[in-house]
């Protein structure tokens, strides 16, 4: 069964460093998303991406964040200068249908900023 994959599973970085989180969405899906979940809190929407551009973003997704689809399979989230409060699980999701918003999530990347 097709699934969303994410790498790395765990990333440790120092405050102020740049990190890139990678995702391979389900093949032939058209919509891609990033969410985050701070330990013990709700899953929160960051950004959605369609047709090579951002379609929606939350107030969390500020200038420190960017997304890119560098080739036909990968979808990346870059955090330019990490802060302690960026420590969280980051989930990628994808969906293939315009009508039904059925999002399939990856296993996540645990980002720890020290």
């Amino acid at each position: 069964e097709p699934e969303v994959t994410q790498t790395p599973s765990h990333q440790v970085t120092q405050m102020g460093q740049e990190v890139i989180l990678r995702c391979v969405p389900i093949s032939n899906h058209l919509y891609f998303y990033w969410y985050r979940q701070i330990l013990g809190q709700k899953v929160e929407f960051l950004v959605s991406f369609y047709n090579n551009e951002i379609s929606e973003k939350s107030e969390i997704f500020d200038d420190q964040f960017s997304v890119e689809r560098p080739d036909g399979s990968n979808f990346t989230l870059k955090i330019r200068s990490t802060k302690l409060e960026d420590s969280a699980m980051y989930f990628c999701a994808s969906t293939g249908y315009w009508g039904i918003n059925e999002q399939y999530f990856g296993p996540g990347t645990r980002l720890t900023v020290t």
Binding site: Y35, K42, E44, E56, T95, N101, Q103, F105
Partner: protein
């Protein structure tokens, strides 16, 4: 900003019992999903409901979408220890595709 309230927050029951968990909001949804999440893993999609009054069954799990599309319930019949986990509802409204998640119901089924 739409809020999704899930209840109860925690539920501990014996194997074989039935249970219902709820997801409520004051907003109307275009679609609602139920997910299950294990510690340290991503949410796994269980079902999507889109039509008011819709009922969907997945083995021992029954999902219902409210007539006004503002609320939903998940009923588990004859719960088993393997049903233990965090059950999340998530929804989107209008033309927006971003999902808003509830806080979840942590279910523990004791053998």
């Amino acid at each position: 900003t739409q809020l999704l309230e899930q209840s109860p927050q925690f539920l501990s029951i014996q194997e074989g019992e039935n249970l219902t968990v709820y997801c409520n909001s004051s907003s109307v949804f275009s679609s609602l999903q139920w997910y299950r999440q294990e510690p340290g893993e991503g949410p796994v999609l269980l079902v999507t409901v889109v039509t008011g009054g819709e009922v969907k069954k997945l083995k021992r799990l029954t999902f219902q979408f409210g007539d006004a599309r503002k609320d939903s319930s998940l009923h588990i019949t004859a719960a088993q220890p393997g049903d233990t986990g965090l059950y999340l509802c998530a929804a989107s409204s209008g033309s927006a595709r971003q999902l808003t998640f509830g806080s979840g119901t942590q279910l523990t089924v004791l053998p």
